[in-house]
Symmetry: C2
Subunit: 198 residues, 2 copies
């Protein structure tokens, strides 16, 4: 019973993950109360997201230019690469502010179940970078799932005969968490990977 | 750390009610995986929502034309008006499918606390319709809050000296609800408004 434009908007919002019928309706209707400029910017940004956003040719991060801002930054320690699954992981690492290396975005994890093979993700370019860019260390920062472990294992295998140091970020009990509520697997890893206190 | 277009998109999504930082980020990034046509339709619908969507000059419902589809429909019983707060309430009534009258959208409820006075909502036009359109009955279908009751009372007062029948939709226990969980006020109304079973 809504006019066509509203029905279209509802359908568009429903295409997003986690947005159902009711939420889509609410979002579509709230567009009607928005400022002209806000809607204009929104519409243009949506179109730009297809045309302007590319992948950094070096690391695969989202970028509007040939190289992403991090790869362009001359103050970065380019011999340390932090390997992440998605661009949005970079945002988190950058928020800490202490990591000064560069990144490499895989754009996915190896998953035979979902039909994602090593050649489907950005591994080739990582190996090429390691060979060409004088890399000292790669830090594997993928999530600790079957897919993440498989991907980490695969990359480690490929780099077996090189001098590059391969590390992975620590898994264990999150800061501030109550040990009572930690799952046994995490606790086991936390115990195995215990560090010496000085 | 995201490119400008993505940051813009995140900001745009954050303007919607109930959408926070994390959700906005997730939605903005999922735009990158959408089909070109879907994004194009989305962007155009957003712009259209400002230009094409008007209010029906008769009932105040959202419409792309001078009169909304319901007011244009010649098979409607135009002597019965169901008075609702918002356009989206009409969608619910239309889903039942048994109401064949027309509607009137107030576009808000009287609320002295929020500074919404009778002249701020679409009451004048309702009174004008009742005088001009040979209306037999108006059904007040506003929500049972202080604002809803105030608005209903105000409309009833305005129509005191007319022959129009004023009714309001029944309040009581929802179908299928467990009486144990019903608030005392609803139970009181349900008791007062009890109907005879034949």
């Amino acid at each position: 019973m809504y006019p066509r434009t509203i029905t279209n908007l509802i359908e568009c919002f429903k295409k997003f993950p986690g947005i159902g019928e009711k939420t889509a309706e609410r979002l579509a209707l709230s567009c009607l109360n928005m400022e002209d400029e806000a809607l204009e910017l929104f519409a243009n940004s949506l179109k730009d997201s297809k045309t302007k956003i590319k992948k950094c040719t070096r690391c695969g991060n989202l970028s509007e230019e040939e190289l992403c801002p991090i790869c362009q930054d001359k103050h970065r320690e380019t011999s340390v690469i932090c390997v992440v699954e998605e661009s949005k992981n970079i945002v988190l690492f950058e928020k800490i502010g202490t990591f000064n290396g560069v990144y490499h975005v895989l754009g996915g994890l190896i998953s035979p179940l979902e039909g994602i093979n090593p050649e489907d993700i950005n591994i080739d370019k990582l190996i090429k970078r390691i060979k060409e860019e004088n890399i000292k260390e790669i830090i594997l920062a993928v999530k600790p799932t079957v897919e993440g472990e498989t991907t980490a294992l695969y990359i480690r295998k490929l780099l077996e005969n090189t001098d590059v140091i391969i590390t992975k970020i620590a898994h264990g009990i999150p800061m501030g968490a109550d040990i009572d509520y930690i799952d046994p697997l995490t606790l086991e890893i936390a115990l195995t990977d215990r560090t010496k206190i000085s």
